[in-house]
């Protein structure tokens, strides 16, 4: 099936120039485009004619180690290359370069983006509005589409066109240290369910050498991603479905103040160790904090880095009288619309992440339960996991049975909206500002931006 979507690039109004035209008229090579760009570290891309190997940029492998994640990607590409003329070549970038850095974007800016790459929902609108994503729906049969959890596919779709294939789902929960609970005279029966209970327990767990809790404190997409569920729990949103701004509603204000109160009273850390608040091994595992909000991925991390550490998991706390809701993140594979062979790249992407064969499902299961600990994005893989009893006990079972059903896909918002929300979170959480004032300021900024926004639909 094919969808005719007006290409977002064609939605710009007024006289336009391509980058190459302008550079050519200036007599300047493309390589130096990144001018503000005293700061950029531009990468080489994979220009050239069709027939060359397609480049696949990722932050897992081949990283030169035999880690399960790297090996999975190496095997994936090897398998494809053995059976196809159009070869694929992995290019590994470190987390810092790929997730928070500029390498991917500067490559696209210079017209040398990778043919295939990974993208998070948080960054999706930037790329789809930039017109660099190929619609993959013509390569996906109805059966394939039906196999995916609708919310995860919707988050990567615009008007029926599918611009990314999710291959994992990463819900958030609270991890806690069993020994910290025991030292404070607490037991499983004291596990908090509501915000007020969480606040009290965090206070009891706070000592001169340990914070009761840790939420993300560094500004960025990750912090927003971890904060949204607290707003959702009060039925709040950043933007309503009709496009109007809801960020100044009580739900957002209360969620901002909840995070701020924990920091103000010293029950939550202002900054984190190691790789930050998504790194439980360095924080919870080291005893620096007693409870930490993190994702399902940390089951594997703790298993590898702190195998003897005893921990438990519970659902995100919620306001009194409300239900627990969590954010579900995860990555999708995308194809460069202007790459060497977008058609061939799309075929690879669909085979890699949506292959309906038994081997394809086994491969997806291995990624989600062996190489990493995620929830699969596909129903058939979830069924396979259940048949095999992969989640028969422990924290993975808890995530599968209790946490995942409360999940909502990570919102996709334009950078300007994400930044306004981020500023509000930062000001209330770390600067002691009033939630209501900051929410109103952010809502004002978002309203101003949304009144001129004409890109792909904003979700949630």
């Amino acid at each position: 099936m094919s969808y005719a979507l007006p290409h977002p690039r064609n939605q710009l109004k007024g006289p336009q120039f391509s980058r190459r035209t302008v550079m050519k008229s200036l007599g300047i090579g493309a390589g130096a485009l990144a001018a503000p760009g005293v700061l950029t570290g531009c990468s080489g891309g994979s220009g050239g004619s069709s027939g060359e190997a397609l480049s696949l940029w990722n932050f897992y492998g081949d990283d030169g180690t035999d880690s399960p994640q790297s090996t999975w990607w190496v095997d994936l590409v090897k398998k494809w290359n053995e059976n196809n003329d159009q070869q694929v070549e992995l290019r590994y970038l470190t987390n810092a370069t790929y997730l928070d850095g500029t390498t991917l974007q500067t490559a696209f800016t210079a017209g040398e983006g990778p043919d295939i790459f990974l993208l998070s929902t948080g960054d999706f609108l930037r790329y789809v509005n930039g017109g660099v994503l190929r619609d993959l729906s013509d390569k996906m049969s109805d059966d394939i589409v039906a196999d995916f959890q609708p919310a995860l596919l919707d988050a990567r779709s615009v008007d029926g066109a599918i611009y990314g294939i999710p291959f994992e789902a990463e819900p958030l929960a609270i991890y806690y240290s069993v020994s910290a609970f025991e030292k404070a005279g607490l037991s499983e029966g004291d596990i908090p369910e509501t915000w007020d209970q969480f606040y009290d327990i965090a206070g009891e767990l706070t000592t001169p050498d340990q914070f009761g809790s840790l939420f993300a404190t560094t500004p960025g997409y990750y912090q927003n991603f971890t904060w949204y569920p607290f707003m959702w729990q009060g039925d709040g949103r950043v933007v309503r479905k009709d496009g109007t701004v809801a960020f100044d509603d009580a739900a957002a204000v209360d969620a901002l103040d909840f995070w701020g109160r924990l920091i103000d009273d010293g029950y939550a850390a202002r900054n984190a160790r190691g790789d930050g608040a998504s790194d439980s091994a360095s924080n919870l595992g080291s005893g620096a904090v007693a409870m930490q909000q993190s994702g399902i991925w940390d089951i594997a991390t703790l298993r590898q880095k702190n195998p003897d550490f005893e921990y438990g998991v519970f659902k995100l706390p919620h306001p009194e009288g409300k239900e627990s809701v969590t954010s579900v993140g995860g990555w999708a594979i995308c194809v460069n619309a202007d790459g060497k062979d977008p058609d061939g790249a799309a075929e690879f992407a669909v085979w890699a992440m949506a292959d309906q064969s038994k081997e394809g499902r086994e491969r997806a299961l291995a990624w989600n339960t062996e190489a990493k600990t995620n929830m699969p994005a596909r129903e058939s893989v979830i069924e396979l996991a259940q048949d095999k009893g992969v989640w028969s006990d422990g924290p993975l079972q808890y995530f599968a049975d209790e946490v995942a059903p409360t999940g909502r896909a990570e919102p996709r918002l334009p950078p300007e909206v994400y930044k306004a929300v981020s500023d509000a979170i930062q000001n209330v959480q770390l600067s002691g500002a009033d939630g209501k004032t900051e929410a109103a300021k952010a809502a004002d900024t978002i309203s101003g931006f949304m009144s001129t926004y004409d890109g792909a639909s904003v979700a949630y």
């Binding site: 690039r9 710009l12 007024g14 006289p15 336009q16 120039f17 391509s18 980058r19 190459r20 302008v22 200036l26 300047i28 130096a32 485009l33 001018a35 503000p36 760009g37 005293v38 700061l39 950029t40 928070d100 500029t102 974007q105 500067t106 696209f108 800016t109 210079a110 017209g111 930037r126 790329y127 930039g130 017109g131 660099v132 001169p208 050498d209 340990q210 914070f211 404190t217 560094t218 500004p219 960025g220 010293g266 850390a269 202002r270 900054n271 984190a272 160790r273 080291s286 005893g287 620096a288 950078p415 300007e416 930044k419 500023d423 930062q426 000001n427 959480q429 770390l430 600067s431 500002a433």
Partner: protein, 307 residues
């Protein structure tokens, strides 16, 4: 006739030698000139051009006229970022100079192991800024870092050095000073070595104590070196990588924008918002401010000669 030929031959040889020297001079200058042209002049010209375009970050350009510059007036973050940069520079430049000078005076005289001490003081400067940032993140992290643990003895263990807007910027300044002081020490050590020994000896014979010798002899004679040190550290503070790398690794501009220096804000505009055109306009503002500061400094000091 023979003498004329000799004169002509000598003159031709001199002319050939001059041409050869000129060619050699151009050849020596070429590498620097080409490097500066490609890596400094060209990006400046491109930034100038891009400031008049909306650039989406994906190669789409649309002429914007003066819109990017008009946007500067309504940018609510810009004044904050300029203030953060000014405070950072205002604290970093004098602090790093004073500490660099103190270290230079300390290791100027020979004593057993002075070479080792000089090397140890210079070592931070050869480290990657990212490594520096990671080391300090480990040292100052809340409660469990070594520094908070030590400060707990005097009841200051609860300060969040990087997580509290009141302290985050000063923490960055102190880390920057630690990083740069060894380099400045080395430059000032060179300057101290150029001061004629007899001047110092004469002042000592005249009964000047250490402080008077420093104030009336050393500092005035050290002016050209001090000028260079202060100027380069100002440039480093406002536009240098330390104003970006440390922020990028340690705070990402937070908490609550308290460490959003101009280089980091330009980065955010370019690579978070995809506004490369506006980022170029911001870059030009920063370059203009620095040009004025440097120009005034040169004028006030007569090009650093102080005459």
């Amino acid at each position: 006739m023979g003498r004329n030929w000799d004169v002509m031959r000598t003159s031709a040889r001199a002319s050939n030698k001059a041409r050869g020297e000129a060619r050699a001079a151009w050849a020596f200058l070429a590498a620097d000139t080409i490097g500066l042209g490609i890596f400094v002049v060209l990006p400046i010209l491109l930034a100038l051009v891009l400031a008049f375009f909306h650039v989406s970050g994906f190669g789409q350009l649309k002429f914007a006229g003066l819109e990017n510059f008009l946007q500067l007036a309504s940018d609510r973050v810009l004044p904050t970022s300029l203030a953060v940069t000014a405070i950072y520079g205002g604290l970093f430049v004098p602090l790093s100079y004073v500490i660099g000078l103190a270290l230079a005076l300390l290791v100027e005289r020979g004593f057993p192991g002075v070479g080792l001490v000089r090397t140890a003081l210079f070592v931070p400067y050869v480290l990657s800024l990212v490594v520096v940032a990671i080391i300090w993140q480990f040292l100052v992290v809340d409660k469990t870092g070594i520094i908070p643990q030590i400060l707990q003895v005097i009841n200051l263990g609860n300060i969040s050095w990087l997580g509290d807007p009141k302290y985050a910027l000063i923490t960055l300044v102190l880390i920057s000073v630690w990083y740069q002081a060894g380099y400045q020490m080395l430059l000032l050590l060179g300057g101290l070595g150029d001061i004629p020994r007899e001047c110092i000896d004469a002042s000592r014979l005249d009964g000047a104590n250490w402080f008077k010798r420093l104030w009336y002899m050393i500092l005035p004679l050290l002016k050209p070196t001090s000028f260079f040190v202060l100027l380069t550290s100002t440039l480093n503070a406002v536009t240098g990588m330390q104003a970006f790398d440390l922020v990028y690794v340690l705070t990402q501009g937070g908490p609550a924008k308290s460490t959003t220096t101009m280089p980091f804000y330009i980065y955010e505009q370019a690579f978070t918002y995809n506004n490369l055109g506006y980022a170029s306009a911001l870059t030009l503002v920063l370059v203009a401010i620095m040009s004025v500061v440097v120009g005034l400094t040169f004028k006030a000091t007569r090009g650093g000669r102080f005459q």
